[in-house]
Subunit: 114 residues, 2 copies
């Protein structure tokens, strides 16, 4: 029998959500307010294509973290924003930002010592 811990263990569950290569960055960008599709892509590193962005957004939407709001107009306008449970993720983002910066500093100290 396989132990399926998704939906049971908070760590395994979180890890699953964060699998996407850009998930954290996307959530961070959306945490600062709703953003349109193209604008989102512009703010992401260049190597990410819109096809990839599209997939990641759809996944995050299916997981319930973000909301897709489509304005019925020509030309099309679609805004993405955090859902309620997505907004709660901001505490994780804050912790990640702090730790990430610490880690970057540590990296530089280490590199300069060799």
């Amino acid at each position: 029998m396989k132990k399926e811990l998704f939906g049971i263990c908070p760590y395994v569950t979180s890890q699953k959500i964060l699998t996407g290569k850009w998930s954290i960055y996307i959530l961070y960008l959306l945490s600062r307010g709703p953003v349109r599709f193209n604008e989102l892509q512009r703010r992401l590193p260049e190597e990410m294509t819109h096809a990839t962005l599209s997939r990641q957004l759809k996944q995050l939407e299916e997981e319930g973290l973000i909301i897709r709001h489509e304005y019925e107009q020509i030309p099309p306008k679609v805004e993405y924003s955090l859902s309620e449970i997505g907004e709660k993720f901001e505490t994780v983002l804050d912790a990640l930002e702090n730790w990430g910066n610490d880690y970057i500093q540590w990296l530089q100290k280490t590199k300069s010592n060799e």
Copy 2:
């Protein structure tokens, strides 16, 4: 020119560290104190083989998050523990645990409504 954000942006850098399928769970287990290799495997979900665990540990060690301490004895004994920068990650783990539990609750509420 490619924007390489690893080592610059805290979010991209964090994401990179967390790529491994079990990284968060491993860091959590180690946050409770040093653990030996086999014990670590026993506490992880069954589907993970020791080959996979070995690779993940080596990666985390190379990234500087964990420390491998080998006791010179027969039979061998190796303990893994968090490094200094690894211990700082615990604030992220706490945030993840809280959010993960919230998300699990949210999942169940959502599921029961359909």
